[in-house]
């Protein structure tokens, strides 16, 4: 014998009904219409006026609607939501504007010669189909590589000290690493100048650029690695110790391998942090125009310097060149950024 049980379908009482959505849409349309009308009728003009009046009207309309249907508390809530959405839209504005401007103005210069030639025979004022940024690509690669070689061990050792050793200096070092991440990039350049270039080498070179970048990279790598190592469960460490491993073996063979993908993220973030640093490289790398693969001697070009030089030169041709350079740099930053996302997604899956 079977009784027909009433089947209760799960409902979503909080979801907005078609009627509510229609009212929302109506409010937006009304506000848009109102803003056009007000701007047309009054003295106000310009995009800013449209945006301002629109925001004001949306807030007023929502306020009245909510006040009439649900009372004063809900009306206040609607003001807050409107402002929060406005905050997000204002934040989105520069991002989209930057991406749009760079792709719009840089794409004309994206020609194959950009990646095959350097600027040895060309000035920044030459047409964009002559000369290229091969020297900047290699130079930036070498300098960031040097910075990575120096800052990776220091950064990871710092993170290990902060999370595993937990010695006497843990708190002061955590504090200092955070303070170090705020060191202005130009100060890093001045430091390398005063400590190495003036007293010892006398001439700028790619190595000096790499050292300056390393100072900026260490705190990024150290802080990210620390966060990653903190996420490794304590059980793994205890298991390693319980099996009779020394602390060295536990960390080097259990903790660090477990955190591998996170540490790769730390590296990528560090590279992204310094790849576009301009000020220290202007001071210490010399900024050559010819392909130079030797970091120890002679000026070495780099991406930021290439853009900087073309930008400060100031003619139409050179500014096109700078935008093209920026576009390539931005694409590199994109690639690095999505690499971190991929590595991160991989980690979350496991």
């Amino acid at each position: 014998m079977s009784i027909d049980k009433p089947v209760v379908k799960p409902g979503k009482p909080w979801a907005s009904t078609p009627k509510e959505r229609a009212i929302d849409l109506g409010a937006i349309l009304l506000a848009a219409f109102g803003s056009f009308a007000l701007v047309a009728l009054s003295e106000l003009k310009g995009k800013l006026a449209y945006a301002g009046v629109f925001l004001l009207l949306i807030i007023v309309i929502n306020f009245i609607h909510n006040y009439l249907s649900r009372g004063i508390a809900s009306a206040k809530d609607s003001i807050a939501s409107s402002f929060a959405v406005a905050g997000v839209l204002i934040t989105l504005l520069p991002i989209t504007s930057i991406l749009f401007a760079v792709f719009e103005r840089g794409k004309a210069g994206l020609k194959p010669n950009l990646f095959t030639t350097d600027m040895k025979l060309n000035g920044p004022n030459d047409p964009i189909d002559q000369g290229g940024l091969l020297h900047a690509l290699t130079g930036s690669g070498i300098m960031v590589g040097i910075a990575l070689i120096i800052s990776l061990p220091i950064g990871i050792l710092t993170a290990i000290y902060l999370t595993e050793i937990k010695g006497l200096f843990t708190r002061p070092i955590r504090f200092l690493v955070q303070a170090m991440s705020g060191v202005p990039s130009i100060v890093a350049g001045l430091f390398i100048l005063s400590a190495i270039v003036f007293p010892i080498t006398k001439t700028p070179s790619g190595l000096m650029g790499g050292l300056a970048l390393a100072i900026l990279m260490i705190p990024t790598i150290a802080r990210t690695s620390e966060e990653v190592l903190l996420l490794i469960p304590e059980d793994l460490r205890e298991a390693g110790i319980a099996l009779g491993g020394t602390q060295w073996r536990t960390i080097s063979q259990i903790v660090v391998p477990a955190a591998k993908s996170g540490l790769i993220t730390a590296i990528i973030l560090g590279v992204a942090r310094v790849a576009g640093e301009t000020a220290p490289l202007v001071l210490v790398s010399g900024g050559g125009d010819a392909l130079n693969l030797d970091p120890t001697s002679g000026p070495m070009g780099s991406f930021p310097f290439y853009i900087w030089k073309a930008f400060t030169f100031g003619t139409n041709e050179s500014i096109d060149r700078a935008w093209a350079g920026i576009l390539v740099l931005l694409i590199l930053v994109f690639i690095l950024f999505f690499a971190t996302r991929l590595v991160g997604a991989d980690r979350n899956k496991k």
């Binding site: 997000v88 710092t158 955070q178 705190p219 301009t278 950024f337």
Partner: protein
Amino acid sequence: MSTTAPGAKSANLSSPTPAKREITTKPRLSDKVFRGVATAGGLSSLLLLGLIFVFLAFQGFQVLRSEGIGFITGSNWEVVQDNVGNTDLSASTFGIAAMLIGTVICATIAVIIAVPISVLCALYLTFYAPSFIKRLMVALIDLMAAFPSILFGMWGYFVLMPHAEYWAKLIHKYFEWIPIFKMDVDIFERSPFVAGVVLSTMIIPIITSISREIFSQTPLDRIQAAYALGATRWAMIKAVVIPYGRSGVVGGAMLGLGRAMGETVAVYTVLNLVYQINWQVLIGAGGNVASMILLKFGEAGPTETKALMAAGLALFILTLIVNSIANVIVTKTGGKGR
């Protein structure tokens, strides 16, 4: 050993007793080396910060001694050369007061613009946004934080500056009665206000992500308690989130301030450097230590370079102080109750 258990006896018969293992809490040699190396690596940040201070102070010492307190209170930057072309240190004056004050003004404008936007954005992302918008926005904001400063510099110069100048004119038109918005000369181009607007776009991602982190640590039970008592979302935010996250947001704003003060290239492109203290933020005359160093460095002789090192030292100390205070505030906020 005469009263041992039978089992032990038989074991003794079958094989010789293995040497008793020494049980100790003393670290092995490998651990000693490892701990030493890691400690050394950890201390390197201390060492580097110390070295930065020492070398900049060493290089700038000559200028700092000859200028004394005038280096940070005077506003003249004049290089006097004697007739053989060497720089005459006693006749030259180096003062960075206008630059220091200008740095603080630009950074403060940036923070004043960025904080409300960032906090609203963080509130939206934490408490309002559907999850797919949240994920997209967080990725975009992180991406924006990774944009190189020269990108902001060029975008600021070509795209944002014309708009910012228009905004400056509007502010001047309607708020002239506020002293800092008065204009003695009508030059709106490349003013501290414009630089502040460009800097604000750079620090919005930083302040947003710190505020978001702080807001998301708000104890869930309190949020649910507020909702259970019938609070709307805004009432909940006002009663629970803001009291909890207030000091963290202040810390985040100070981190943004520190970042804005140390920014070089983006300010260099959009600010007109003038060696005079200027409080009227809409006039195209401002100061910035980092930009000045970059501007002067190319043509500077040995003595002037030393003065630039001293200026770098001043900037280093200023940003270090601001960042330290910010970090103390942010760290204290994490996990703290109301």
